[in-house]
């Protein structure tokens, strides 16, 4: 292996840090100035004030960061806990910065050194030191019951405590994925929980979370609300701004929007695409949302049924009119995808992908050519299972069915209930289904676990040894350029053999009323509220 200048890479990753601090301070001053100039008596303002009520539309399974499978839970968990690292967005680039750590260094390409902040305490008063961090990492890696996120730390060999505030993580091989493993997607493997609280509550920790974060957990009433209050001892200066936060748990997004418009709540952690027009027309709300790290796709069963025939799969992949899909299924809000790597992965995404010739797009002629090469030349009947789930429900399936009729595939749409849908998907009992992988920050997590041969999430059952090898190589290379080349090759294989027809990258929206100030949008579906205040 060539010598990599990992210090340089690290330096690049950290470069945004100091700039951001300055911006934050500036913003804080702005808010104070605005308040002082307003009609409020200038001394009446306590350090924390205001009660933010925000609707949380989706499922909250548990508030235990090491066991959740849902982003909506992470949104709340992140306000109660901190991680070793955190995700930062400056409007252009997504980077990882030390959070509970003060510094993060590479001793060599397999050893990461974290120096922790001094004096940080959990909400229960116990210190957050190297022992506590080790406890959390081990809880993910090998705790009982087993964390669904254990695989993210599989390469972690040893956790060495150098002194009470310094840890060295020794990995069995260079692990470029580490920052993402610690922060990535659902479940935060690098989130630090209070060992005392885990001891006390055991498996009920998820109902009684104790972290170091800007807000403390107060209560959780099922189907009703989760209440948080300010952690006045929080380590970032002048934060949090709010005194109380209530996540109102709701099933019906349109009711949430009505509540927002009538002023009963101040925001929504998620705004479904079909409601975005209404929000935009409402003057007293601010919409936050950009294309995030995700992709939606039509999955084809490579293990059984007609789509074991690669030519047929390719015919389908080229027959999907993405423009129509974006318009009809995604309310014109999504962006056509050519390959899985999405725009927020700034070091890897190719802004000129549309003209690069890579990936899949709509070309009916090409689709027909592949169709002509398929083994079965007569009309093929397939089952497309769909459910009222995901961001757009059954719209994708309904839009696709007539497109496939064009190439002699008769699609039988089968509407099933979400739990059954999950079961059948996991068991590979389908011809076609559509799905989305969301909140990814790195090419590894966006394609490798999803499509590696025999991978648990490889529901299409596609197998390609070369693809596996390319991704495995890329995992241990720290240089972004080199990694990029490998992922492009892996993606090309995936798009070429077409276990999926790729469709779109979606924007994920949040809404706040205009009373809410200081929200920092991060394109990883996060709702971090430490900088937020109420006017």
């Amino acid at each position: 292996m060539t010598e990599t200048d990992h210090k340089k890479i690290l330096a690049e990753r950290l470069s945004a840090r100091f700039g951001r601090r300055a911006i934050l301070k500036g913003m804080g001053a702005g808010i104070v100035a605005a308040t002082a100039g307003g009609s409020f008596p200038s001394i009446a303002r306590a350090q924390q004030s205001g009660h933010l009520k925000i609707a949380s539309i989706k499922v909250i399974d548990t508030l235990d960061p090491h066991f959740t499978g849902f982003l909506s839970a992470i949104q709340i968990i992140n306000n109660i806990h901190n991680g070793l690292l955190k995700i930062v967005y400056d409007g252009e680039n997504v980077t990882f910065e030390p959070d509970l750590a003060e510094t993060w260094d590479l001793e060599d390409d397999k050893t990461h050194v974290f120096k922790l902040r001094e004096g940080v305490r959990f909400h229960d008063g116990t210190p957050c030191d190297a022992e506590a961090v080790k406890f959390s990492l081990l809880r993910v890696k090998e705790g009982e019951p087993k964390s669904p996120h254990a695989w993210k730390l599989a390469l972690l060999d040893e956790i060495e405590i150098v002194d009470p505030l310094t840890l060295k993580l020794h990995f069995s091989q260079p692990y470029a994925f580490l920052p993402v493993a610690l922060n990535g997607s659902t479940g935060r493997a690098g989130t630090i929980v209070s060992p005392a609280a885990v001891e006390k509550y055991g498996t009920d920790y998820g109902r009684n979370p104790v972290g170091t974060g800007p807000f403390k957990f107060v209560s959780w009433r099922e189907n009703d609300a989760i209440e948080l209050e300010a952690n006045t001892e929080y380590f970032e200066p002048d934060m949090p701004k709010l005194e109380k936060v209530t996540f109102v748990l709701m099933n019906e997004a349109s009711t949430a929007l009505a509540a927002l418009m009538s002023g009963q709540i101040d925001g929504m952690t998620d705004c479904p695409m079909q409601l975005v027009d209404q929000v935009e027309a409402f003057p007293k709300a601010n919409l936050y949302g950009e294309i995030e790290g995700n992709y939606t796709f039509l999955g084809m069963n490579c293990k059984k049924g007609p789509f074991t025939d690669m030519n047929l799969r390719k015919a389908v992949a080229w027959a999907l009119d993405r423009e129509t899909l974006v318009k009809q299924a995604y309310f014109g809000r999504a962006q056509q995808a050519y390959t899985p790597i999405s725009p927020p992965m700034t070091a890897f995404f190719d802004p000129d992908i549309a003209t690069s010739g890579r990936g899949q797009w709509f070309d009916l002629e090409k689709a027909k050519e592949f169709r002509a090469k398929a083994e079965e030349q007569g009309e093929i009947e397939v089952t497309y299972m769909m459910a009222e789930r995901g961001p757009v429900g059954t719209r994708v399936a309904q839009t696709i069915a007539p497109m496939l009729a064009e190439i002699g595939i008769k699609v039988n749409l089968e509407l099933i209930e979400p739990a059954t849908w999950v079961k059948r998907r996991n068991e590979g009992d389908f011809d076609l289904y559509d799905f989305e992988w969301v909140a990814d920050l790195d090419p590894d997590e966006t394609i490798y676990p999803e499509f590696k041969s025999d991978g648990a999430w490889n529901f299409c059952g596609w197998e390609n040894a070369e693809f596996d090898e390319l991704c495995k190589q890329a995992q241990v290379i720290l240089d972004s350029e080199e990694r990029k080349e490998l992922y492009y090759k892996a993606e090309d294989l995936l798009m070429e053999e077409a276990p999926i027809g790729i469709m779109a990258h979606m924007p994920i929206y949040k809404v706040f009323s205009d009373k809410v100030q200081g929200f920092q949008y991060i394109p990883a579906d996060l709702v971090n509220l430490h900088t937020v205040s109420l006017a």
Binding site: V59, I60, D61, T62, T68, G69, F70, E144, P145, K146, S147, P148, H149, A150, W151, S185, T186, G187, T203, D204, G206, R207, W220, R221, E222, N223, D224, V248, L249, M250, N251, E252, S254, T255, A256, A258, A259, M261, S262, G263, Q264, E417, P418, A419, T420, V422, K423, R424, N426, W437, P449, A456, W457
Partner: protein, 316 residues
């Protein structure tokens, strides 16, 4: 009397047994797996197996049912798989009062609006008012309640800003705020019943008003309001109460949609999310509570007959 009471209790137990084992069986037969649902999309086979074993889902159906039933009877309703909520607290202490409050308000609206409207229609039979009330009743029965809920939300909540559009505040704790929050959901759920009671009151009262004792009362020179509201309405109370008791099931069904639209954390929402998440324990608790409620109310209806009709009191 004692024998009767024992019989009633025995009957109740049999019903509860059938209801509980049927729900349990149906849920188990339905495809879908709580472990898969709670692990989301990112998990390993190991994590899956360890969780299945931990939740006791690797045991046979009958063992799982017996285990649940024995614990349930002893007051241990268990904890939900995913959120680790104590089901007794969630179902009995938190969700049940919400649904009871909603049902109480809807029934009150139904009676307070439906009965007078029905009486007036009967008295003004075949007038424009009667026709108008008939149209109202027909619309009320035909209008889907969730749609009505959404319309009420947008008109009274968002456009006019008169009422809160969602959420539950216990009227037993904060009286006026609680009632204020119950007005839109209460109206939504009760529209069907207002309409039904209006029609039922009208039809029964028209019949009663032709009875000889009404003519006798009029002949005695009693004021017209007394003839109608005392002699008339008292005599339609029994069919009214019977129907209300029987329709309670429909009302409880309606709470599912109403609670979803208005985001009320009641049994309806609890059952919906529990069924979708295959939370066997929560579904069982919800179904048993609903069944008990239904049986309980119909028992009350039975008991109310002697009060409503003195002729039934002395039968020994």
């Amino acid at each position: 009397m004692l024998v009767q009471a024992l019989g009633k209790i025995g009957q109740t137990l049999v019903v509860l047994f059938i209801v509980s084992i049927a729900t349990f069986g149906l849920l188990k037969l339905a495809p879908g797996d709580p472990v898969q649902i709670m692990l989301g999309s990112e998990y390993s086979q190991e994590a899956y197996e360890s969780l299945t074993a931990e939740m006791g889902l690797d045991r046979s159906f009958l063992v799982q049912y017996a285990d649940w039933a024995i614990n349930f009877v002893q007051g241990d309703w268990g904890t939900s798989f995913v959120a680790r909520t104590d089901i007794f607290t969630y179902g009995f202490k938190e969700a049940l009062p919400v649904t009871l409050t909603l049902a109480f308000f809807s029934l009150s609206f139904a009676i307070l609006i439906g009965v007078p409207l029905g009486v007036l229609s009967a008295v003004k039979k075949d007038t424009a008012f009667d026709a108008g009330s008939a149209v109202f009743a027909l619309t009320g029965t035909a209008f889907p309640s969730f749609l009505l809920g959404i319309l009420l939300i947008w008109f009274f909540g968002v456009r006019l800003g008169w009422f809160p559009v969602m959420g539950y505040v216990s009227p037993w704790e904060e009286f006026w705020t609680g009632i204020y929050h119950m007005i839109l959901p209460g109206l939504t759920l009760s529209t069907y019943f207002i309409a039904m009671i209006t029609r039922l009151t009208r039809a029964s009262l028209i019949e009663v008003l032709e009875e000889p004792y009404i003519a006798a009362a009029r002949a005695r020179g009693e004021p017209s309001w007394r003839v109608i509201w005392v002699h008339g309405v008292r005599n339609i109370a029994m069919p009214l109460v019977t129907i209300l008791g029987l329709q309670l099931g429909t009302l409880l069904q309606g709470t599912v949609l109403t609670e979803t639209v208005f985001n009320l954390p009641g049994i309806g929402q609890m059952l919906t999310s529990a069924v979708l998440g295959r939370e066997y324990g929560v579904v069982q608790a919800g179904v048993i509570m609903t069944a008990l409620l239904f049986i309980g109310v119909n028992l009350l209806v039975d008991l109310s007959y002697p009060i409503l009709d003195p002729r039934l009191r002395d039968r020994k």
